[in-house]
């Protein structure tokens, strides 16, 4: 399957320092020939390796503002976490005006879609009681993590589209109605906090093409946004504070009004919770709000502000914004009907670590176990694999050698050195005074 990945390596910058390999939650990185390589069938585009690389060799592929010219009518979609990227008391009305001034005809908050999804989540809970806990589908990195590392849990993911997709399709329909343009003339640009959303657009999880056309990084346009921060345009704000709250961890649960929920952020913390669910625990919890980035989307690596600062800004905003009319009234005033949130189907995509064939996998696993016994167990990473076990698996599938382990190599060299030494001790028979002829052979000649 051809699968788009937003997280990539800049070979020039990579020093092969192996800092990134241990941070990857799916062990997708190996350093080979002095450069980090990402295994495409495993990578979930969480961006942890971008965070970890001291040499800025990992980056997130995204689109540029120059793409604006491709479309006749351009719409910007703003993630809720954007509101945490500015100084305290910078109003949404000013931020949205600044976004529009980048060259857009229209701008809309994804927070509006978040409100629509929150309502759908609530309805889903009223109707479905059979499976617990239900896991949020909002973070695309978490959805992909479940697909590859917790494939048995895909049924626990709430089968609802994300706020970004809901907002995008609502805005495209409205733009087409108002301008009479064909769908491909309307360009929808999402201002993204993270690489996972880029992937979610270019390789949608359910296979249905995304309504978003281009993805920009908040960090790329941030400078221009600061310059543009002048006038307020209150008419551009349509979302309520509950939708805006989705930008930080806990916001979804608050907006959907689910009481018995577990909120977890940071990909490694998410893994620890998913592991519990996989062992059959947590059936007494209704909902899991899980976000790959620490602090939620405010902690996304394509954002600019410190995530703690951004988090507190966003929370203050949510606290201080006055409540608005009900969602249905605001949508009516905006001239759009209440959309139905489309369902998504998330398929498992388990990682094949050793072999698809069970018999062969068993043989290789035995080999892995034997190899592990011989490896030093230091998980030092010098071989380019994140753990000794990972190296053993790589060896078993023929992608690495035992001597890739520097300790094994040293043992071999020492053995070789010993042998060389032993050989050096040997003296030609002509010079060897200690050597006594055996069985009178010499006499015979």
């Amino acid at each position: 399957m051809d699968y788009f990945h937003s997280v990539r390596l800049d070979k020039e910058k990579c020093k092969g320092c192996v800092n990134c390999i241990k941070k990857c939650p799916v062990e997708a990185i190996r350093v080979r020939h002095g450069k980090a390589e990402i295994m495409e069938d495993r990578c979930i585009d969480c961006g942890e390796c971008i965070r970890a690389c001291p040499n800025h060799a990992k980056y997130a592929e995204r689109d540029s503002l120059q793409e604006l010219t491709v479309f006749e009518y351009r719409i910007a979609l703003v993630a809720p976490s954007l509101y945490g990227q500015f100084r305290e008391n910078t109003s949404p009305a000013r931020i949205l005006a600044a976004v529009k001034a980048l060259g857009f005809d229209e701008v809309c908050e994804v927070a509006l879609g978040a409100e629509i999804v929150s309502q759908a989540v609530r309805e889903y809970f009223q109707k479905n009681h059979h499976l617990r806990p239900i896991i949020s589908s909002a973070c695309p990195a978490v959805v992909r993590l479940i697909q590859v590392r917790f494939p048995a849990l895909v049924d626990h993911i709430i089968p609802l589209e994300s706020p970004m997709q809901v907002t995008a399709s609502l805005m495209r329909r409205k733009a087409m109605q108002e301008t009479g343009l064909a769908p491909e003339k309307v360009g929808i640009f999402f201002l993204s906090p993270c690489p996972a959303k880029v992937t979610a657009v270019k390789s949608p999880v359910g296979g249905v093409p995304s309504e978003v056309d281009r993805v920009l990084a908040v960090a790329d346009v941030y400078g221009r946004l600061l310059e543009n921060l002048r006038q307020e345009q209150p008419s551009l704000t349509r979302a309520d504070r509950l939708g805006i709250g989705w930008g930080a961890s806990g916001g979804e649960v608050a907006a959907a009004g689910i009481e018995n929920a577990l909120i977890v952020d940071g990909i490694h913390n998410v893994i620890s919770v998913l592991e519990e669910i996989e062992l059959g625990r947590l059936v007494d919890i209704d909902f899991i709000e899980a976000q790959a980035c620490p602090g939620g989307c405010v902690g996304g690596i394509l954002n600019v502000n410190n995530r703690f600062v951004a988090g507190v800004r966003l929370r203050h905003l949510v606290r201080d914004l006055p409540a608005r009319e009900p969602l249905s009234e605001r949508l009516a005033a905006f001239g759009v009907p209440m959309p139905k949130v489309p369902e998504i189907k998330v398929e498992p995509r388990p990682i094949v670590r050793l072999d698809r064939n069970l018999r062969r996998a068993m043989e290789k696993l035995q080999q892995v176990q034997a190899l592990i016994e011989h490896l030093p167990g230091l998980d030092c990473g010098s071989c380019g694999a994140p753990t000794c076990r990972a190296l053993a698996e790589d060896i078993a599938v023929g992608k690495a050698l035992e001597t890739d382990c520097i300790f094994k190599l040293r043992e071999k060299i020492m053995a070789l050195a010993q042998e060389t030494y032993n050989l050096a001790q040997l003296v030609p028979p002509a010079m060897d005074q200690n050597r006594t002829p055996k069985g009178g052979e010499r006499d015979a000649t």
Binding site: P151, A152, L153, V154, E275, E278, L279, G280, R281, P348, P350, V352, R353, L354, D355, R356, L358, R359, A361, M362, E363, L365, Q366, V368, E393
Partner: protein
């Protein structure tokens, strides 16, 4: 059977993990290791899930109710078998123990979130075959079979 005289030549994968009673710090470790092995073998996700749940509940029962024991896993191309064996007080009335909600776990165990009396029923639901044998005062043995494919 006649055509396949040497059953032992059939490939299989074995793993044995000791479990120590009341060792709550390492609770779940044996089940996690079993899960990792099954994942490495690329078994169907739902088979892994059912085996993980069974292994976890069996492990916890040894930790909570018994003194010491072990979890043994055997995988063959057709099925996986988990055997949980322990030295412990044994189960007096197995039918009763199998009932949902029946538990003899003391209060301090319940405070840790265990003792809902759901472990054995969950194993039963996850397994294709469950055999329990127990001798009071000696110990308990669970054999759990889950078919592959």
């Amino acid at each position: 059977m006649a055509e396949v005289p040497a059953m032992s030549h059939d490939p299989s994968y074995d793993l044995k993990i000791p479990v120590i009673g009341h060792d709550f710090l390492r609770a779940g470790e044996a089940a996690s290791r079993i899960k990792k092995v099954l994942q490495a073998l690329n078994l169907p996700p739902q088979v892994i899930r059912r085996a993980s749940i069974s292994a976890y509940e069996a492990e916890m029962n040894i930790i909570i109710h018994a003194y010491r024991g072990q979890l043994a896993l055997k995988v063959t191309p057709d099925a996986l078998t988990l055997v949980a064996e322990d030295e412990g007080p044994g189960i007096q009335d197995i039918d009763l123990a199998m009932q949902e909600g029946y538990s003899t776990a003391p209060d301090e165990i319940r405070e840790m979130g265990f003792g809902a009396g759901m472990g054995l029923p969950n194993i039963k639901k996850s397994a294709d075959k469950l055999t329990i044998t127990s001798t009071v005062g000696q110990g308990t043995r669970l054999e759990i079979v889950i078919r592959i494919s």
